[in-house]
């Protein structure tokens, strides 16, 4: 009996022990369950966040794949380094730094965009910093874009496509009469004011228009040529109340792939203490590219008052052969001796140039080496044969 009693007590103690043990484990299991639930919520939160970050990161990666997108804006520099034998522009054989063009563009939202282009220019005495372009734009639709600021005038093809980027064109420099205002150009290249532009695609082709109104060019005395002037477009105001107007319409026919044709014109007033005149310049341009072949030509007619009109034009042909692009260009300015506009400008003398050269693309998007021969037939100048080399780049 005693043994049975002992076994009973032992069993009771064991049951009590198991009961307490079970209770203790149940409590611990409940804690573990709570911990798992909490961990599950944390993981769900993290998964959601990772998904959000992937979306943001995906869009950002897409943007970075663009050419220059950094810090949310596009940044870039065009530059060139040159060697030239003696010429009408260079007194001695030698090397020279071309202008460095620093530009930045930004798109804010769907319709606002901005552009600033600063040129660092070097001459024998000093380094100049010029605002080449600076504008703010708003796109209402493809047909109606408004920009306010300093622009390149819509005068022909070259001035609207290449701007200050020498890597973008085959030859070493612009046609001489299309040089910038401070480099003896005779066509107003810049304008400060309002620009309206737009384009529409029709079954017949794409039609583009540009209309500009703003401060026209003033005359600035040329320190290198006594009694002569250069054109100058002031950023800080206008020298007179007369405004310059520019218009251009171009057409790209669907039927002839690679062809663009345009007509353009401008009217402005230039004056100094002794005279005042209205100048009208109008013309046409044609661009054609098929396979590796490329042709571009522009014609300008310069007219003022009763004097006979002056003519300026160039024609350039080029053909891509792998990395090489040989090219030929003929350019000329022909005015009457008594032309009052060309007569006062430093670059207004009659002149023709024959240019033959070759460009080699080290990397077509970033670097090219050009070599060219130029026969310069300028009225009153003797130096005619010029050899030039250029390394143009962009990054």
């Amino acid at each position: 009996m005693k043994g049975v009693d002992f076994m009973g007590k032992l069993l009771t103690v064991a049951l009590v022990f198991v009961f307490f043990l079970g209770a203790a484990y149940a409590e611990e299991l409940e804690d573990v369950k709570k911990e798992v639930e909490w961990q599950k919520k944390v993981i769900e939160g993290l998964e959601k966040r990772v998904e959000e970050l992937e979306k943001e990161g995906g869009a950002a990666r897409g943007q970075e794949a663009g050419v220059f997108r950094r810090f949310g804006i596009n940044l870039g520099i065009f530059g060139d380094i040159n060697f030239s034998t003696r010429s009408n522009e260079k007194e001695n054989n030698g090397f020279s730094l071309g202008a460095a063009s620093l530009y930045s563009t930004a798109n804010i939202g769907e319709r606002l965009n901005f552009l600033v282009e600063v040129g660092v220019e070097f001459d024998e005495e000093e380094t100049n910093l010029d605002i080449e372009r600076l504008w703010a734009g708003y796109t209402f639709s493809d047909l109606f874009i408004v920009r306010l600021g300093r622009h390149h005038t819509a005068m022909g093809y070259w001035n609207r496509i290449y701007h200050h980027g020498k890597l973008l064109f085959y030859s070493i420099d612009r046609p001489f009469f299309l040089q910038f205002e401070d480099s003896n150009g005779v066509i107003p290249i810049h304008i400060v004011g309002l620009e309206l532009s737009g384009s529409t695609v029709t079954p017949a082709g794409r039609i583009t228009y540009d209309i500009e109104a703003g401060n026209g060019p003033e005359l600035m005395e040329d320190s290198d040529m006594a009694g002569k002037f250069n054109l100058n477009v002031s950023n800080a105001g206008d020298g007179n109340n007369s405004k310059q107007a520019v218009a251009r319409v171009s057409f790209e026919p669907t039927a002839i792939e690679g062809l663009k044709i345009g007509v353009f014109g401008t009217n402005f007033k230039v004056e100094d203490s002794t005279m005042s005149m209205h100048e009208a310049i109008f013309g046409a341009d044609v661009y054609y590219k098929r396979g590796g072949f490329e042709l571009v030509s522009e014609y300008f007619r310069l007219k003022n008052g009763g004097t006979p009109a002056a003519n300026a034009y160039y024609i350039r042909v080029a053909h891509e052969i792998g990395e090489f692009v040989p090219y030929l260009r003929y350019e000329t300015l022909d005015g009457k001796d008594d032309d009052p506009y060309l007569g006062i400008l430093s670059g207004g003398a009659d002149r023709s140039q024959y240019i033959a050269g070759v460009r080699y693309d080290v990397d077509p998007l970033h670097s090219a080496i050009k070599a060219q021969y130029r026969y310069d037939d300028t009225e009153g100048e003797k130096l005619r044969n010029v050899f030039e080399l250029q390394w143009a780049f962009h990054f």
């Binding site: 897409g62 663009g66 530009y103 563009t105 798109n107 965009n113 504008w135 639709s141 973008l168 794409r206």
Partner: protein
């Protein structure tokens, strides 16, 4: 004989690179309803930027073969010419280069999230949901 086998082998290896086909996709709620070749070309050149007030957003695929195939067939330029065109466009009009993505899934997600988006992805790609296939023309 060895030359013939070598040439056939080269042809065999070369052919798939150019045969890689694509489909053009858009956002189903966007304004693009069909793949008119001229319209798609102008969108990818940045010359057509709005339809019915909606900003168009062309997207490129980083895959060189597919991109080259699309650009030559639809835009009429190879990738070098296309990039040069866009450098001029950025420099001239202040626009931004169209974004590129490496994976078709990323492109599909981009198009799904943007009303005016248009893109091309490899033909036969699985898991394309929430976008509308409108081409090629």
């Amino acid at each position: 004989m060895r030359f013939v086998i070598f040439s056939l082998l080269l042809l065999f290896l070369h052919a798939p690179a150019y045969a890689q086909d694509f489909v053009i996709i858009v956002n189903p709620e966007g304004p693009l309803v069909d793949a008119d070749a001229q319209v798609v070309r102008h969108i990818y050149l940045g010359e057509k930027r709005f339809i019915a007030g909606v900003k168009l957003e062309p997207v490129n695929m980083s895959n060189f073969t597919l991109q080259e195939n699309f650009l030559i067939r639809i835009v009429g330029m190879d990738s070098k010419e296309y990039r040069l065109h866009w450098i001029k466009k950025v420099f001239q009009e202040g626009l931004s280069f169209p974004p590129s993505f490496a994976a078709a899934s990323e492109i599909v997600r981009f198009v799904r999230e943007r009303k005016g988006a248009i893109a091309y992805i490899p033909k036969g790609e699985s898991g394309i949901t929430g976008v509308k296939v409108i081409g090629p023309p």
